[in-house]
Amino acid sequence: MLSLSKTRIAAVSTAVIAFAVTGGNALAQKKYDTGATDAEIKIGNIMPYSGPASAYGVIGKVQEAYFNKINAEGGINGRKIKFISYDDGYSPPKAVEQARKLVESDEVLFVFNPLGTPSNSAIQKYMNAKKVPQLFVATGATKWNDPKDFPWTMGWQPNYQSEGRIYAKYLMKERPNGKIAILYQNDDYGKDLLKGLKDGLGAKGASMIALEESYEVSEPTIDSHIVKAKATGADVFVSITTPKFGAQSIKKVAEIGWKPLFILNNVAASIGSVMKPAGFENGQDIVSANYAKDATDPQWANDPGMKNFDAFLQKYIPEANRTDGSVMFGYNTAQTMAIVLKAAGDNLTRENMMKQAANLKDIQLEGLLPGIKLNTSATDFAPIEQLQLMKFKGDKWELFGDVLSGEAGG
């Protein structure tokens, strides 16, 4: 029986060895399900390499590079990783086709980090019926933490509702009599975060909301929404936007001379790909929250974890743009996967994969903020539940307050 001990890794050169075996017979005989042999472990993955969300395709490429690194360094427990990643073009029907191809044709052990709420929703039932793990899905929807109904599906990043609640808490404290204007993307992600925010504000907070305005991804600019938000006389502006629209909202708010308390969601908090293009001078004092280190934030320049990250990029995927938050995301998720695989030892069954994934105890990753830990249990399928608030000062984010948990969805 394997389990992960409480381990702190601050500056481990190879992140993978971040676990220890405590008791149990680790040397149990080898057990394999489809997709695992003495020589290799087949991992499936689905990414939108083409189509409207192709910006996220880089995640799959970084993950592939990371598994190449592991293989170059001897693999995990002597086994090489075979990472099979398919394109679904962000189309749910295609995701179903690709998931089935992975499971039935390529016969992977499990599917790791498939991206997008619609795609994951489409394959969730199938994966659970087939009893193939759908591990660490790349979406922040709250519904992935449902071990009772979907014991084969697990999230990874903090869910959007938790993030929304954290902002709500902060607002109730900072501006108890504030007037809030919210701009959100009209899709699963925007609505989920909005729900967390509204739940967090509660009955009292509901009266604080002056405007809930949605925008569509197909809109070239969101300027008119911001004009409308300002016209409500709000003194708090919450921007639930993806990077491009986040940058637009920062710029436009500054341009029209509006000075609200500006809350920008984590999705758009990258310095390199949002704050800088939007102009640092426009982004001062914006509040956001994060769980991962921003590779473009100068405060991590000498951080050992960041140095490892850079060394990895340089050696295995030099073409990746480190200012892109997705690159760090791919790195962190791949590391998490490696940790779980290592912990699984020679018991490479699908059941054990879920068991190990649900047995993360206070794991820290090089790319996560200090104090953010991965924790899971048989009843908790949400590995990262914490975020830390931060405020933009000069050219970097200043973290403040404690590491917070939104406690949404279990």
Partner: protein, 347 residues
């Protein structure tokens, strides 16, 4: 002058095809029989995943058939088929999941609702032609996902999250006659039967009085009107029939994938359907199978060559195809017929 010239150049092409079709009717018949046999037998030897892929292929072929009836049959151009496909899919999903209706019954319902929707859309479309109609249908395709996630309908449609559908099992009688059949295989044969039914109906439609009326409109609208064809009626009818069949395909697609969401039915799908029609050969119903194969498999080929450039490779493959055979699979079939005819004569 111009119109006369256009019809003059268009006419030999169709005339040629017709002339070629007569002597090599047997070739065509043999080809259809072989295709049918393959369609019937292939699943018995394939893994479930491939059966699923074939089901997808058949479903897209049905949708392409519908588009062919519209563009090939009545000369109207649509970049908005994804909208009808979506309505059909959601009809099936809502009926099955919210109202608990049997999946078989959702198909006629989807067909009917889409027929009405298409017919109504065809009314304003009557006043538009060429590029304007393309734009209007394009607008419909762009607007549809936004309508689907509208908060008013959320109770039924599941809003941005979509709806998960329970995949149907093979009916009891299959078990009682002692055949073990997977859900995938059952759905495949179910789709095949529906598809063949629609194909036969479509062929008969195009050969009927109404079909000839529609094609007269395609060739020369004013001449058709002068001949006494009720142009507005047949144009809207073509839209309605095309939308109805597309709706059935959408419903089948929803059942096969067991999930509907606004993101499943974006403009990307409309464009893919349009390309499928061009690749298959505009107005040639059997070409729908070739076009659907393009839709299902070419993206996979592109991605297997390069992940980072899959879009570009897809584009290059597409360009190569339209350079080599601008008339699509129809042209290949014509050349093959020609070749077989020659061999037949010389031996």
């Amino acid at each position: 002058m111009t119109t006369a010239h256009e019809t003059a150049t268009a006419a030999p092409a169709t005339g040629k095809a017709a002339a070629a079709a007569a002597p090599s009717m047997n070739v065509a018949r043999a080809a259809s029989l072989i295709t049918l046999a393959l369609l019937l037998l292939a699943p018995l030897f394939l893994k479930n995943f491939y059966i699923f892929q074939m089901t997808q292929w058949l479903i897209y072929a049905i949708a392409l058939l519908a588009l062919n009836i519209l563009t090939g049959g009545s000369g109207q151009f649509s970049l908005g088929q994804s909208a009808f496909y979506a309505v059909g899919a959601y009809t099936a999903a809502v009926m099955m999941e919210i109202m608990g209706v049997n999946y078989v019954l959702t198909l006629p319902a989807a067909g009917l609702i889409c027929f009405v929707f298409g017919f109504l859309f065809g009314l304003p479309a009557l006043r538009l032609s060429g590029i304007y109609l393309a734009l209007a249908t394009f607008a419909l395709a762009v607007a549809m996902p936004q309508v689907l996630k509208l908060h008013f309908f959320e109770h039924w449609t599941g809003g941005v999250q979509g709806l998960v559908i329970i995949k149907p099992d093979p009916p009891e009688f299959i078990k009682t006659i002692g055949v073990k059949m997977s859900q995938d295989m059952w759905l495949y044969y179910f789709t095949l039967v529906v598809g063949i039914g629609i194909y036969i109906a479509s062929v008969n439609l195009l050969a009927s009085r109404s079909g000839r009326a529609m094609m007269a409109i395609r060739d020369n609208q004013i001449a058709a009107a002068a001949m006494g064809v009720d142009v507005p009626l047949y144009k809207t009818l073509a839209f309605g029939i095309s939308a109805g069949i597309t709706g059935v395909a959408g419903a089948l697609g929803a059942i096969a994938v067991a999930f509907v969401a606004p993101d499943s039915y974006t403009i990307q799908l409309a464009i893919a359907l349009f390309l499928g029609m061009v690749i298959g050969g505009v107005g040639w119903l059997p070409g729908s199978l070739a076009g659907a194969a393009f839709m299902v498999f070419v993206p996979n080929i592109a991605e297997s060559i390069s992940k980072g450039l899959s879009g570009a490779i897809f584009g290059v493959i597409l360009i190569i195809i339209i350079f080599l055979v601008p008339h699509g699979a129809r042209q290949i079939a014509y050349m093959a017929q020609h070749l077989i005819g020659k061999i037949g004569k010389s031996s």
